[in-house]
Amino acid sequence: MRKFLSAFISICTIVIALNILLGIIYPYYIGEIIYPYKNKYLEKNINSYNSVVFGSSRMWRQFDTHIFDSVLSDDKLFTYNMATGGTFNPEAYYLYKKFISELDSGQIKLAIIELQAFTPIADENIKTVKGNYWLNTQMLKYCINYINGNQDDSIVFDLKSKYIQAYLYNLNNFSKLKNWFSLLISDKSFFVENNGHSTFEDQIVRGGVKSLRNRNNEFLDDTTVLTERISAASNLDLYKNYTLNNVHLDILLDMINLSAAKGIKVIFILPPRLTSESYKELMPVFMKLSDSDIINLASYNEFSDFYTVENSFDIGHLNKDGAYRFTKEVANRVKNIIRKQK
């Protein structure tokens, strides 16, 4: 028995050691689909850029770096859009924190980050590498505390157990070998071109995903769905007094401080077209941040252009025209912040 157990344990130990070794070798963004290519590109061309954008598809599709840089030409900003589709809070925050930890001081001057509501992990994503690669112990702690902070008691246990499951799946580094090989061999130049920005229309023209066109058609078939988003964004002040989630606030302040240590000015954007639930969660946090760290583009009363059918691609995203207006607005506001600081 002793011989059997020692052979069995030895083999298991080797397998576990190999698993740990892989975890050390892998880049921090191993499970993301687009970000790794953008990151590699930026690393190679870091001297050509001094400003970055982080967030979900909203920022990827709506933030046109050329327009932004042209508005801020006096400030000599050269922006690269690092945002990718499906990166939510906490994943997007994890990527940003890792990104700046690898930067040398002074390489980047400005970071524009989308403020995002916390997204519960879906059952079908728990086992996927994309769904859990970012879930290290620190991020698990963040998720658990976040859930304790603002979720309904009846679902807290379920939500936490999903994150714990995803965390355990993330310990399996062998499952990420496919992602690693694909990172080593494939070249997704489309995603890195145009300073990392791409509208939905651009992708459709390039022969992109068929489902994108369907999404657009479905939205155009029934645009009444926008009404709900408009109503959510019409009375943002109502959401200011909802419960503040300190865990969310803490991570944002942490990001601001870590960035400042590397000479980076962070500005968080409250985007338009979110659900009322999201605004309820984000507004109290948003109000706690300094005016020089935030830009509010959500209000329907102020930015009705962001809620018209003509400027929409689907319920949550702006199209090319909308992206133009959105970026201009961000640029003007950033300009004001910079002027004030000077």
Binding site: K3, F4, I14, L18, F174, L177
Partner: protein
């Protein structure tokens, strides 16, 4: 609980440790642990059906005991029929009730007097076809006085519910397995290592071969209207490897797990896709079921004794019932019928026992051309019969065959996953090289020294994690 699940990866070591370190001094305690673990294993799927296993166990234990105390022929027959009726009654009720109700309704509709059949909304208890046949073999053997009935209810319960083979076999004979519960098991290093190796190989077959093939077999069979003949043939090929990887993989895990606990189960698969004719295929495929039918149906019917007509009749009966055992659908009966038709020429020419030995001599990589051709032809025939096994209904069967045997067979396949085909080739190569063992990598110790052997195990473990397809239930759980 699936063998390829985290649950089982936790369950097995716990039972193993308790079995060898806590209950190892007391045989009864060890057997009791097996019963508790087995009921827990089954109960995680649906605890309500534990009562069926318990009832079946009690009936056969009681019948066996009474049989041993009476020589009265009529009474003995009555006892035997009681066991058969109880066991097959459960099986018939849960598995075949709706099938018969619908078939009668269809028959009346054909006769112009449509009736609305009563359908029961019942789920099929996992593994009922397996443990029913296993307990039946006990009673029949006791009736035939081939086996002394057991007086030990715990040993008998452990025999009926033994978790490694409870839900998908191998269907053990009481004469082989039950006596193993009477003697104290000693831990044997060679047996345990071989068992673990077999578990590993079974997982490879299930997780890498079966689950990856399943993705494409499902895609093609579920959308057969949209694909050309060559794609449908490829779909049948994927299903051939899916069902083989799935079922033989399950058997390997079951046999290997049993060996970890000091038990030896019968071999269930012996490289069936290297068979040179259908008769050989059936000696190598699901051996525990085909020998069950041979011993408890074919031979009692007269077997190969009597004139040719009787032999043909017996063969047809066994194949059709075997098909029906697999599922309550005409597609399974048709599958059994197809196999009997393929078997017939061999029977008529007395060639059905021609290929007994494993193909080709040892130490040669390639088979002689003649054998290779026979293997390929047999494989194609078997693959074609699987169409009926996998199809949804008879209409689907005929449409599928119709498309395969059309000019579109000569077009390029519309689905061609090179990676999965590559995995199949690697798998076939390992199986071919290892075809003289009970399982492909049994004799790896003779080929590789320790460092290489360990590297091979580690590579297998990693490939199972990395290359595994989407987790699928074992196909044979539904039978």
């Amino acid at each position: 609980m699936l063998f390829n699940s985290v649950d089982f990866a936790i369950f097995l070591p716990i039972v193993f440790v308790i079995y060898w370190f806590i209950t190892n001094r007391n045989l009864k305690l060890q057997n009791a642990l097996i019963v508790v673990a087995s009921y827990f294993f089954y109960g995680l799927w649906d605890w309500r059906f534990l009562s069926l296993i318990a009832f079946s166990t009690l009936v056969d234990f009681f019948v066996g005991n009474v049989l041993s105390r009476t020589e009265n022929k009529a009474k003995r027959k009555l006892l035997l029929y009681t066991s058969i009726i109880v066991n097959l009654g459960f099986l018939g009720f849960f598995k075949y009730f709706n099938f018969f109700a619908e078939s009668f309704s269809d028959a009346f509709t054909l006769l112009g007097r449509p009736i609305d059949p009563t359908r029961l909304n019942i789920i099929l208890p996992v593994g009922i076809s397996f443990y029913t046949f296993q307990t039946l073999s006990y009673t029949i053997d006791v009736y035939k006085k081939k086996l002394e009935p057991t007086q030990d209810i715990i040993a008998f319960s452990a025999f009926v519910s033994f978790f490694p083979q409870l839900v998908a076999g191998p269907i053990e004979r009481a004469t082989n397995l039950l006596p193993q519960f009477y003697v104290k098991r000693q831990f044997n290093y060679i047996q345990a290592v071989s068992g673990l190796r077999q578990v590993l190989w079974g997982l490879f077959k299930k997780v890498i071969i079966a689950d990856n093939c399943a993705t494409y077999a499902n895609l093609i069979f579920n959308n057969s209207d949209n694909y050309n003949g060559s794609t449908l043939l490829l779909g049948a090929l994927f299903f051939s490897f899916q069902i083989y990887g799935d079922f033989s993989g399950y058997s390997d895990i079951a046999i290997g797990t049993s060996r970890l606990f000091g038990f030896n189960l019968m071999n269930n698969f012996s490289f069936p896709y290297f068979s040179r004719d259908i008769a050989e295929f059936w000696r190598r495929w699901h051996i525990s079921l085909s020998t069950w039918f041979r011993d408890y149906l074919y031979i009692p019917l007269g077997g190969s004794k009597g004139n040719m007509l009787k032999r043909i009749r017996n063969t047809f009966i066994v194949f059709v019932i075997s098909g029906f055992w697999h599922g309550a659908n005409w597609t399974f009966i048709f599958w059994g019928l197809l196999n009997s038709i393929l078997f017939l020429p061999l029977l008529l020419t007395n060639n059905n026992r021609r290929n007994i030995e494993t193909v080709e001599l040892r130490h040669k990589i390639f088979a002689p051309k003649k054998d290779t051709v026979k293997i390929v032809i047999t494989f194609i025939l078997v693959t074609l019969t699987w169409v009926s096994f996998r199809a949804e209904n008879m209409h689907h069967v005929f449409i599928y065959y119709g498309k395969i045997f059309s000019v579109s067979l000569f077009k390029m396949p519309e689905v061609l996953p090179i990676d999965v085909l590559g995995l199949i080739i690697v798998f076939l190569f390992i199986e071919w090289v290892g075809r003289f063992g009970n399982y492909a990598i049994e004799n790896i110790g003779n080929i590789m020294n320790k460092p290489w052997r360990w590297a091979f195990y580690i590579a297998l473990i990693i490939s199972i994690i990395v290359l595994g397809g989407e987790q699928q239930e074992f196909i044979y759980f539904q039978f």
